[in-house]
Amino acid sequence: MRGLAIGYVSVVVLLPLIVICWRVVEQGAAQFWDAISSAQAVKAFELTGIVTVAAVAINTVFGVGVAILLARYRFPGKRALGALIDLSISVSPIVVGLALVLVYGPYNGWFGKPLHDGGFDVIYAVPGMILATAFVSLPLVVREVVPVLEDEGIEQEQAAQMLGANALQRFRRITLPTIKWALAYGVVLSIARAIGEFGAVKVVSGDISGAGQTQTATLLVDERVEQLEPGSYQVSLVLIVVAVIAIVVVSFIRPKESA
């Protein structure tokens, strides 16, 4: 049983990862440095960084707000709201890209055309990439925070309220300390998801390289593979390292919450 489990995981995941690391080592440090320090690569990492920070910031604020609403309040349509948030992560990224292009596309999008005529482009530009990334990582913070808020109950907050604490004070002094580890967990998951997003961003960004580059790190990997250019292994290795760091961080945060 143990052998079968380890064998399966090795063949499917571990060995391919080891081989790609080995290939990067084989090609040498100079090649590694060249691949990740070209102007195109630097710009790609920068775009990935901008999109990730913006999308995660939006999802963190939205996630905490919605989690409080779902855990603390009753209102009509509550289940529909939860279902819609859940749906967003199970939709194919390519469908997400298509959906956003149909609404925000500059030439015939429902909202995109008026916005484009007003001089604001969403699709084939950074705002659309942020929307796409926010879409695919939408439930990650909400899902982590809601159960913690539910377990905690509202007695402390009610007590604080009776003692005269205003909403902001109650949030800072009681809610935030309660949810901080769940929030951290959700944020790390969101960051990893945002950095790795590919399909939705490929569609909405137009995958532009050169002047006005909208190509993120994952799109750069794709281009280098498809154009048979060197450097895909090296950029991939950077993304693999980021992914492993995220997993390790998560594994340290997780036990504090739920062991």
Partner: protein
């Protein structure tokens, strides 16, 4: 991270708790600030998710029901949907078995390297899917050091889907197995039941809802997978899954036929969500 990302085990129950009856003691009525918050949240969700998804459905049926049906049943779209469905079903079955086995080993077995195995299992969640495709091709592609080339083969599509869906069943079954009391198993064993019988009669029934949930999540993920498919398919017709088909139609600016296949995928996602909801009620009733 496609989801530590699609974090299994944390599905709709977490978001809209149905098992906790809403009572005056635990929930509040919306008032000024909270009402405003709900308004903002719903507006943002509409702009980001609801209206765009509605646009996909609207676009797909723009040419009427017959237009939709025509777009879905053209040979290219139909073959892509068929391949996606068959591969996703097959991958789900493999995951149900292997995922349960891996979860069992992680919980019940003590060995060196278990911690490493834990981390490796989460990697497909955290790894960008395009990198997943590349990683697989390095070992099982044209430059393979082991003599296996999966590029442009349906076996390759299947294998890549196994990679990206690996964690789902493991991560949904593992917590249930951890909480499982071993007394009943010990009793069965002491009464002379062979291990296989103990597993089938005692452990499996308890794990079943979790296995089903994890399998459903893996299925949904496989149906929509794109990044790894782009590389492993080699751009061939015989390995074109639905997401690849949609992408090609978008590239050709044929949004109506892209939207038609996208609508089918959306409906599948909705069905899986409903199924997960039912499974969770089932698990809650038992637990």
């Amino acid at each position: 991270m496609t989801a530590v990302l699609d974090a299994p085990g944390a599905v709709s129950e977490d978001i809209a708790p149905r098992h906790v009856p809403a009572s005056a003691e635990t929930t509040l009525r919306l008032r000024g600030t909270s009402g405003l918050g709900l308004g903002i949240a719903v507006s943002w969700l509409s702009v980001l998710v609801l209206i765009p998804l509605a646009a996909v459905v609207a676009k797909s049926t723009g040419g009427g029901w017959s237009g939709f049906w025509h777009d879905v049943t053209t040979p290219g779209a139909w073959q892509a949907l068929r391949l996606t469905l068959l591969c996703s079903l097959g991958v789900s079955v493999v995951n149900a078995v292997m995922g349960t086995l891996i979860a069992w080993v992680l919980v019940r077995d003590r060995f060196r390297g278990r911690r490493l195995l834990e981390i490796v299992i989460d990697i497909p969640f955290a790894l960008p899917t395009i990198v997943a495709g590349l990683v697989l091709l390095v070992l099982y592609g044209p430059t393979t050091p082991v003599g296996i080339n999966l590029l442009g083969t349906q076996r390759g599509v299947f294998f890549a889907l196994l990679f990206v869906t690996l964690p789902f069943v493991v991560r949904t079954v593992q917590p249930v197995l951890l909480n499982l009391d071993t007394e009943a198993e010990e009793a069965a064993a002491s009464l002379g039941a062979p291990p296989a019988t103990t597993f089938r009669r005692i452990v499996l029934p308890v794990l079943l809802p979790a296995i089903a949930s994890g399998t459903a999540l893996a299925f949904a993920r496989a149906m929509g997978e794109f990044g790894s498919m782009l590389l492993i398919s080699g751009g061939l017709d015989r390995t074109r899954v639905s997401s690849m088909y949609i992408f090609q139609q978008i590239e050709n600016f044929d949004y109506a036929s892209a939207a038609a296949v996208a609508t089918v995928l959306l409906v599948v996602s909705l069905i899986v969500l409903l199924l997960l909801d039912v499974l969770q009620r089932w698990a809650a009733r038992r637990g």
